[in-house]
């Protein structure tokens, strides 16, 4: 059995954040992360931990799957 190819986690955090009028720093403060982490997650350079991903979805008041998606 061939192992699955490495997938990619995408997100729409930037769009949802600006829609709510939040800055990266404000979102970082709400979810207990640094602004650098939010920048990296938004740019899809870093896949957040499950806990942080749930925190971000909650802060943006959206269901998890509306914020993050997985492209296999």
């Amino acid at each position: 059995v061939n192992p699955p190819a490495k997938g990619h986690v995408t997100n729409v955090i930037r769009a949802l954040r600006t829609e709510r009028g939040l800055t990266q720093q404000e979102l970082a403060d709400v979810v207990g992360a640094t602004r650098q982490t939010i920048i990296a997650v938004e740019a899809e350079k870093y896949a957040p931990s499950l806990e942080l991903a749930f925190r971000i979805a909650r802060a943006l008041e959206r269901p998890f799957e509306a914020v993050f998606s997985f492209k296999p």
Binding site: T23, Q24, Q25, A33, T34, R35, Q36, T37, A40, K45, Y46, P48, S49, L52
Partner: protein
């Protein structure tokens, strides 16, 4: 006409960069960078005389080595104790810290390996009669020179590691 209040507001607007708070590991890396550089500066001050590296007794090299290692250990312990206290106080940490430290370790190790290669080239260039005179050559068979080169390798690896923590944390 030149509108001064508007110009000031414009300059303020374009020169405003949102402040990025330093994480604990970044602060620790800055401290380690300063401590390591201090120790290496001490070794350089005890090895160089002007631009030359004069002969030294083994006793003098031992003294420099002991003091440098002792100072490095004391500074590292002080930095670790400070970091532990800050962590207990709830200092800012980055979720990516573990990944950043792993990559920084690898970069630091790479820099040390590169340093070892430079020492090897120095051995080879020292023995090759046709080496270009513009290629800088040290004499690794000279004890104080080799002593400084080995300390420099460790410092370069350490410096690269700490600099990587700072830079990767900002990316």
């Amino acid at each position: 006409m030149f509108d001064m209040p508007n110009a000031t507001a414009y300059v303020k607007q374009v020169s405003h960069f949102p402040r990025i708070a330093m994480t604990l590991s970044e602060k620790q890396a800055w401290g380690a960078l300063a401590a390591g550089t201090l120790v290496f500066a001490y070794v350089c001050a005890n090895t160089f005389e002007g631009w030359a590296i004069p002969d030294q007794s083994a006793r003098s090299l031992w003294r420099t080595w002991l003091f440098a290692i002792g100072a490095a250990i004391v500074l590292d312990l002080a930095l670790t104790a400070w970091a532990q206290r800050e962590r207990a106080r709830g200092a800012l940490t980055d979720e990516r810290d573990e990944t950043i430290l792993r990559r920084a370790d690898s970069i630091g190790f790479g820099a040390m390996v590169a340093g070892v290669q430079v020492v090897m080239w120095q051995f080879l260039w020292g023995r090759s009669v046709d080496a270009h005179p513009l290629i800088p050559r040290f004499d690794p068979t000279h004890a104080p020179t080799l002593f400084l080169m080995l300390f420099a390798i460790v410092w370069v690896g350490y410096f690269a590691r700490q600099a990587a923590v700072i830079v990767l944390g900002r990316l």
